[in-house]
């Protein structure tokens, strides 16, 4: 026979005490773990980002500490709202040599795509990397897997090479390949890179004269 006291009707006081105790202990344990791991997690993320950036820019192209020489800028007219760009500045002998711009391409199929775009001082793309995306699994293989060279097609491009119409997928009359019948993802990336170049061109002065953020 079922015991009536296991129904929902009225929890016993011991049940309430036990629940509160479990929730409190769980929160406490989580908080302690978080406090304990936070600095290591931050360190890991930082190291990972550094590795990604160093993959994009050859060590010989700059002589400053790129990761510390960074600023964050808001440019809603080029990058959209809620999309501040973190700019890492490359300098050689004290002169600006280029930048690595970390921001979002907002129009991905599954949400924003996190981009890392390296540009030379003159505004020519020297490399593009995707840091994070939420596209359909498999679509990302065109740029995720080693041996896929789609992102290389940005190298050497600038705002005038190709012109505005060319900054698009083939299907839309542009000059970039789409991959495996997907157009939304490449379109978002292409537009994202184009907007980053636009942003860079208009903000270049400010990018290199603003004092770097306090670490």
């Amino acid at each position: 026979m079922a015991k009536p006291d296991t129904s929902f009707s009225r929890p016993s006081s011991s049940a309430v005490v036990a629940s509160v105790a479990v929730v409190t202990l769980a929160c406490l344990a989580l908080y302690c773990t978080w406090r304990f791991t936070a600095s290591r997690i931050e360190h890991n993320e930082h190291a990972w980002l550094a590795a990604q950036i160093n993959m994009l820019v050859p060590a010989a192209s700059h002589d400053n500490d790129l990761l510390d020489d960074r600023i964050t800028l808001d440019a809603p007219e080029y990058l959209g709202d809620n999309n501040s760009a973190t700019v890492y500045r490359l300098r050689r002998n004290g002169l600006p040599a280029g930048a690595v711009i970390h921001c979002l391409a907002p129009d991905g199929y599954g949400g924003p795509i996190e981009l890392l775009v390296a540009v030379t001082y003159d505004g020519e793309v020297s490399g593009v990397n995707i840091l994070a995306h939420h596209e359909t699994p498999g679509i990302g293989n065109a740029f995720e897997f080693p041996g896929s060279h789609w992102l290389d097609s940005f190298r050497g491009r600038s705002l005038h090479n190709p012109d505005t119409a060319g900054w698009n997928v083939r299907k839309d009359g542009g000059m970039f390949e789409q991959f495996t019948s997907a157009t939304i993802t490449p379109r978002a990336i292409i537009k994202g890179v184009q907007h980053v170049l636009d942003f860079y061109q208009h903000y270049r002065e400010r990018i290199f004269t603003t004092a770097s953020m306090q670490p």
Binding site: T6, P11, S14, A18, A21, L30, T33, T37, I41, N44
Partner: protein, 216 residues
């Protein structure tokens, strides 16, 4: 309406029993693109289930029946979150490889907790045995699927072991990566691989000389 059936809480808790292992398939299929990642995932699961068992066993006496399912849900998810944070801090490569499938491993401790809930007070040894069996099965599946996918897709074994497992096990290279069969590393490859594995298992099951058993 005091029918002698189980309370409603138990229905929601017991009914999807057959679904729970299915969710376990998710991390198994998605996160076993290489042998090292498969072993890493199995290790994570093993640690999670053992901790869950210890905690649920020790708290069992203090938690009344009526709140047990809530309390253990809370405990299981906290343990998984703690494991996730620890992995993020101490094994970043595995953390990135498992990605969003890490939270899904909560299913494993939930399964353990569920069997414990239904069982009468069982001895720790029985439960340990159960956890070991479950994890051994998962490890075996992860090794089979992981190594098959890595072999076919990348032409190598243990290619990422140094980063993920921290071992210096030599990686075995059969053929260069760009000759690999990409499908095997992608999600459909996992399903096809698992399907072939189950087919092989069934074939063996049918054709193996059988001792007398009750099943047909």
């Amino acid at each position: 309406m005091n029918t002698p059936s189980t309370p409603s809480l138990d229905i929601t808790w017991r009914q999807p029993a057959f679904l729970l292992p299915l969710f376990c398939l998710c991390p198994l299929l998605a996160a076993t693109t290489s042998l090292a990642i498969g072993i890493g995932l199995a290790a994570v699961l093993c640690i999670t289930t053992i901790i869950t068992m210890l905690v649920t066993q020790t708290t069992r006496a203090f938690i009344p029946d009526s709140t047990r399912s809530f309390a253990w849900l809370m405990i299981c998810s906290s343990i998984t979150a703690i494991i996730e944070l620890s992995l993020h801090a101490w094994n970043y490569h595995l953390f990135r490889a498992l990605d969003l499938f890490l939270p899904l491993t909560v299913i494993a401790p939930l399964l353990i907790a569920r069997t414990e809930m239904q069982a009468e007070q069982t001895s720790a040894a029985t439960l340990a045995m159960r956890a070991v069996k479950m994890n051994a099965g998962f490890l075996l599946a992860a090794i089979v699927v992981g190594s098959a996918r890595e072999l076919i897709g990348d032409g190598a074994l243990f290619s990422d072991a140094a980063a993920i497992l921290g071992t210096s096990a030599p990686s075995i290279v059969l053929f260069p990566k760009n000759m690999g069969f990409l499908l095997a590393v992608l999600a459909p490859g996992a399903f096809i691989g698992l399907g072939l594995g189950v087919a092989l298992y069934n074939w063996l099951w049918i054709h193996m000389p059988r001792k007398k058993t009750g099943h047909a």
